[in-house]
């Protein structure tokens, strides 16, 4: 009964406050703007994925047609693009592009999707250096600043709104002299603060969740309900963390101005300063190994193998079929010898890259421990991971492409070594990449610890706030 009265009064008060109405309206506009950006980006990626897949289909059908024509007695268009040659069918001409479809909630969090490659061309030449790609063409300036997406609004701006709504829930009553009056009713200070904040939380969290669900609905993200649930959980816990922080500061019985200063300071430290300090500290303590040294090592690794004339000649003729007139096709030149050189290069590249990747994984594991210091980093991790635009999903995709390239080589290399020709009968058996996308369960397992820590922080600060509020008396 009392809670309902408080809620009703609060609604009237909030609606009577013009500044607050403007702030809430502005927040709604920012939510929609963020959502629109995310949807535009998702549509862009979807279009590219479709283009890439059409490319796969077109290459396959051109090869199929030519093989059929050859079977009917026609000559191949060129000796160097003869689809019966496993070097051609498994090489540049037969390239199959492996694609990572956009994360189900990309529209909500762009995450790493603007930075990391989401498709790779795979053929028999695919090796470790094929993974050194830039991904989508993008202005480095825009990559540096980052997108205005829903995740950004949640992590940076939502706490500020929460603080603006909650910094004076109790202190204002005291400053206006209404605290004693309120507490003379059969309600406790704790009850009043809880009711007031619950009402505000309902409003703010409701707005963010509504925007999230709208975005999910528009982009068909409900196909992965587990991810949607994780996203919502992260939003709710993170927002509530800031509300209980406001409650706790109010329970210290200082002035509204003091509360505001402390809360803004807390935001600054937790959201801006700590993540940055963590990154500086991790950069100093656990520097990532340099890619520059890896390039040199790769070059050295492949140098002697590359210097073999046979392979150079093969490469040369591949690059310049028009120059091949006059070069007598040497039976022994083909296939096996060239592949041996390629394979030697690949093995050395794997060694060099493997060392680099192992060191990088070690450093990142160390760096990741520090994220527990900042609720903003924890929330960001869960939000981006739930959206399917986090590091883990891209790393998983890359290792699947590695395995696929291995399978691809396994299909063509025996024929290359045996100097065999292929025909249309192999087409149905050609390896095709199919993404084994991570399930909601995998994401939930990764998100469990950060969410639990966030929840723990929430309970801890909440308990402190509860205890502090229990000591508030009307006579304060």
């Amino acid at each position: 009964m009392a809670a309902r009265t408080v809620l009703r009064n609060e609604w009237r008060l909030l609606m009577a406050d013009r500044a607050l109405r403007i702030v809430l309206g502005l927040f709604a506009v920012l939510l929609l703007y963020a959502l629109a950006n995310g949807v535009v980006w998702l549509r862009f990626q979807e279009r590219i994925v479709e283009t890439v897949q059409t490319g796969n289909a077109e290459r396959a059908s051109a090869i199929e047609q030519e093989l059929a024509a050859i079977a009917n007695g026609a000559e191949p268009a060129s000796r160097f693009s003869d689809p019966r040659d496993p070097y051609v069918l498994g090489g540049g001409r037969g390239t199959h592009t492996a694609v990572l479809t956009p994360g189900p909630l990309t529209a909500l969090a762009v995450g790493q999707s603007d930075l990391l490659p989401y498709y790779y061309d795979v053929n028999i030449y695919t090796n470790e250096s094929s993974f050194q790609q830039n991904g989508e063409v993008e202005n480095p300036l825009n990559l540096m600043v980052g997108r205005f997406d829903l995740a950004f609004v949640v992590i940076y701006l939502l706490p500020l709104l929460v603080l603006a709504l909650g910094y004076n829930v109790l202190s204002e009553e005291r400053e206006q002299g209404t605290l004693a009056l309120t507490l003379s009713q059969p309600v406790s200070a704790r009850g009043v603060v809880v009711a007031k904040l619950a009402f505000r939380a309902l409003l703010v969290v409701g707005m963010v969740l509504a925007a999230s669900l709208l975005g999910t609905l528009v982009t068909g993200g409900f196909g992965s309900p587990g991810r949607v649930l994780l996203w919502c959980a992260a939003v709710v816990i993170y927002a509530l963390f800031w509300f209980v922080l406001a409650a706790w500061v109010n329970s210290l019985r200082r002035s509204s101005a003091w509360n505001a200063t402390v809360l803004v300071g807390a935001w600054l430290v937790l959201v801006v300063v700590l993540p940055a300090t963590i990154n500086i500290a991790s950069g100093l303590l656990h520097p990532l190994p340099s890619r520059v040294q890896m390039v040199t090592a790769q070059r050295e690794a492949s140098n002697d193998a590359v210097n073999r004339r046979s392979e150079l000649l093969a490469r040369y003729l591949e690059d310049h079929p028009e120059m091949a007139e006059g070069v007598v096709a040497d039976v022994t030149f083909s296939g096996a010898l060239a592949w041996a050189a390629t394979d030697a290069v690949n093995r050395r590249l794997e060694e060099v890259t493997g060392e680099h990747d192992a060191r990088r994984a070690e450093q990142i594991a160390l760096v990741r421990r520090y994220r527990f210091l900042s609720p903003a980093l924890l929330a960001q991790e869960v939000l981006v991971d739930a959206a399917g635009t986090g590091d883990a999903r891209y790393a998983g995709f890359q290792s699947q492409v590695r395995a696929f390239a291995e399978r691809w080589r396994g299909f063509f290399v025996p024929a290359i070594l045996a100097g065999e020709q292929m025909d249309a009968s192999v087409l149905p058996d050609l390896p095709r990449f199919s993404l084994a996308d991570e399930g909601s369960g995998d994401v939930a397992r990764r998100a469990a610890v950060p969410l639990a820590v966030l929840g723990g922080l929430l309970v801890l600060v909440g308990a402190a706030a509860g205890a502090g509020l229990g000591r508030v008396r009307g006579a304060d």
């Binding site: 920012l30 703007y33 535009v40 590219i48 283009t51 490319g55 790493q112 930075l115 990391l116 050194q132 790609q133 830039n134 991904g135 989508e136 063409v137 993008e138 202005n139 480095p140 300036l141 825009n142 990559l143 540096m144 600043v145 980052g146 997108r147 205005f148 992590i155 940076y156 500020l160 509204s256 801006v272 300063v273 700590l274 993540p275 940055a276 300090t277 963590i278 990154n279 950069g283 990532l288 890619r291 520059v292 390039v295 050295e300 590359v306 210097n307 150079l312 040369y316 690059d319 006059g326 990088r360 990142i364 760096v367 994220r371 900042s374 903003a376 980093l377 960001q380 991790e381 986090g390």
Partner: protein, 470 residues
């Protein structure tokens, strides 16, 4: 009189525990960021220089081979770090660090450091530039929001003015007092920065000290904008609290909202082509030409050579017709690459102008642009190096194809050049752009920042004159 105001304001601030802690925190972050940036920039520069030397060594010791095979082997170029990049790493983590210069193809820069990092490392970057752009203005706001509004609330403003001091004098005193307190933190940081610059600037000489002086001037102007703005709001606002709320709102829009709005706006106004469209356009144009650029005709090329040398048979030519043709197709390719890459770089530059233009709403955008430009870490200077590397590639290809044409005969695949030829190619020497070039690119930002400076100072003066006493 004004001396007393300055001294009072200065002493107040320095004795205030909250300010002491805030500025110790900001100052410490600034020093750590400077130190970290310096170590990182120095390591990166040493590493790049070493890699460049090794790449050169690989080139020279590649053994005997056909010059065109050497052209395919190519050489790697590594982007050097300019001396001031330790203050502001700018877009460097998002541009590649190395490019493979090989025959027939203009490659992209690969190895973006950010790709190796984690998502978390994208949201919390702290360079000295970011401390200066975000945290120092916040400190200024916290120091100044109460300058007038606070005195008014306490009733001391009337008293002060009754003592005969002019309002403008009062404002100037307060501004100078705050500046003095800030100088306690900023001057040592600037000295450390200058020392770091003098001690170690391993990168290409690009007048680092002149750039540093202008950089300091830009940040001073930026701080003055915030100081004047804070004073103006403080003189105008009813209460100190209102002043603080307004100024924090300005800070959030300036530092958080506007920069990201600029990103999406710039992409809407000037769409970036997708990687696959970009690659396919080049592939298509390389095959069949574009506009009035048509691929070279090998037969026509041979005919011309035959006529030029007055012989009937290709075998009788004193030169290798293939070498000539390869160079012709190289030059055809160059025109196609110029067409496409110029369009891409121009799109990036137009997007950059959107960021610069939005500086009318958020001075940070102007300062950030200038800061990256002076540190040598903006998109334009990446383009500058990319162009230098590409020019080097083209010269290298011309030399290789030229040697093949001159020293071998058509159809002779056994010709091999040796180290003498490889060593005759001069190493890549990069001359970083001058200060004038950088500033010439950044006139818009300079203008906007100048307007902010003059505008806020005038508004502050007007507001202070009209400040209500109580």
């Amino acid at each position: 009189m004004i001396r007393h105001i300055i001294r009072k304001e200065f002493t107040d601030i320095v004795r205030d525990g909250r300010f002491r802690w805030c500025s110790i925190l900001v100052g410490a972050l600034l020093l750590v960021a400077l130190g970290h940036g310096w170590v990182q920039a120095r390591n990166a520069q040493q590493e790049h220089a070493a890699a460049q030397a090794t790449a050169r060594d690989h080139w020279e010791t590649q053994g005997e081979k056909n010059p065109h095979s050497a052209a395919h082997y190519g050489i790697y170029a590594f982007k050097p770090r300019l001396a001031l990049s330790f203050v502001d790493e700018g877009v460097d983590p998002y541009t590649g660090t190395s490019v493979w210069l090989e025959a027939h193809r203009q490659n992209d820069f690969l190895l973006r450091p950010a790709q190796d990092a984690t998502a978390a490392q994208r949201i919390g970057v702290l360079t000295a530039a970011q401390v200066l752009q975000h945290l120092v203005p916040l400190l200024i706001i916290l120091l100044t929001f109460g300058a007038f509004a606070g005195e008014r609330e306490r009733g001391t403003l009337r008293q002060l003015l009754a003592s005969g001091i002019g309002r403008r004098e009062l404002a100037a005193g307060k501004a100078l007092g705050v500046s003095g307190a800030l100088a306690l933190m900023l001057v040592p940081a600037a000295l450390v920065g200058a020392a770091a610059l003098v001690v170690g600037s391993p990168g290409p000489a690009a007048s680092p000290l002149a750039r540093g002086v202008v950089l300091a001037g830009v940040y001073l102007a930026y701080f003055t904008v915030f100081l004047a703005l804070s004073l103006a709001v403080s003189a105008w606002a009813r209460s100190a609290r209102t002043a603080l709320v307004i100024l924090l709102g300005v800070w959030v829009v300036n530092g958080l909202v506007a920069p990201r709005v600029a990103v999406d706006l710039s992409k809407w106004l000037h769409p970036t082509p997708s990687a696959i469209e970009f690659a396919r356009t080049i592939e298509r144009e390389m095959a069949s030409g574009a506009g009035d650029i048509s691929p070279p005709d090998r037969d026509a090329s041979t005919e011309r050579l035959l006529a030029e040398y007055g012989v009937e048979q290709v075998e009788d030519l004193p030169i290798n017709a293939v070498g000539v043709y390869l160079q012709e197709s190289e030059e055809f390719g160059n025109r196609i690459f110029d067409r496409n890459y110029s369009a891409l770089w121009d799109t990036f530059e137009r997007q950059g102008v959107v960021h610069e233009t939005l500086a009318v709403a958020a001075p940070l955008l102007a300062v950030r642009t200038l800061s990256m430009g002076l540190a040598g870490t903006d998109v334009e200077q990446h383009r500058h190096f990319a162009t230098a590397a590409e020019t080097y590639r083209r010269d290298l290809m011309r030399r290789m194809n030229g040697d093949m044409a001159e020293n071998s005969r058509t159809g002779d695949f056994s010709y091999a050049a040796d180290a003498e030829l490889w060593e005759s190619v001069p190493p890549l020497q990069y001359a970083a752009p001058t200060l004038g070039w950088v500033l010439g690119n950044r006139i818009l930002s300079l203008l906007v920042l100048g307007t902010w400076l003059v505008g806020t100072v005038l508004v502050a003066a007007a507001r202070v004159r009209r400040a209500e006493v109580g």
